[in-house]
Symmetry: C2
Subunit: 138 residues, 2 copies
């Protein structure tokens, strides 16, 4: 059920994006969101938060840089780290995507009350937390 629901949201989002000639993937949208919320994030942080291999992050960021949504700069204090900074273009694209995302969400959540939505989100968070606890146990 989770998979089908995610697919519904994903395809609806992507068709809306194609209409407006936006070529970003959902994952890249998520990354832009995180970079906007916290500009100190490095690639390893993104990999940890998104629970993906760091190589995937590298390539998705490569794509974002190619489209000039993001700049990659070596951290001055620790030259291993790379800081990721949203460009103006990236910020505008993010706002566009957020508008589309909230429209799509509103449509897909018709008939769902605020309290139900809150519980829904709580359960999603709890599942993720339980998953992380399990990981540590291993």
């Amino acid at each position: 059920m989770l998979g089908m629901t995610l697919r519904v949201f994903k395809t609806r989002m992507m068709t809306e994006c194609k209409k407006k000639d936006i070529e970003l993937s959902l994952e890249q949208f998520v990354i832009l969101n995180m970079l906007n919320a916290n500009c100190d994030l490095i690639q390893q942080d993104l990999a940890n938060h998104l629970q993906k291999d760091k190589s995937i992050i590298v390539r998705q960021i490569d794509g974002l840089i190619e489209d000039q949504y993001v700049v990659r700069l070596t951290n001055k204090e620790d030259k291993r780290k790379k800081n990721l900074i949203l460009t103006k273009k990236g910020f505008e694209r993010l706002n566009e995507m957020e508008r589309i995302a909230s429209e799509v969400s509103k449509k897909l959540l018709t008939g769902v009350s605020d309290s139900e939505l809150e519980i829904f989100k709580d359960v999603l968070v709890k599942i993720q937390e339980n998953g992380e606890l399990e990981e540590e146990a291993i």
Copy 2:
């Protein structure tokens, strides 16, 4: 959030399956489930229900046949259609997977009450229904 939660469930499931040398993908598990619930399903039905291209279904079924979990038979009334029948081996594997899935679900849902889980499932269903309604409108 949906994506991250699905990933948590998927990876947890797959690591549990690897422990027991089960090589089935989650999608193949879902297909086995559907075939078990309704033995009249043809490949096109699976594609419609899972909202995937029929070519994906063909290949996933090919894999299931290779592992002797399923048999593909031409329908006698309509020779275009192929009936998909679970073998004994497939049925046993399905039961194994279901046991693993319910264990993983139980662990990931600790701290979630029955009523919260009900609402959670309701919202997932509603999102899917809203998605289908939108599609028809197009």
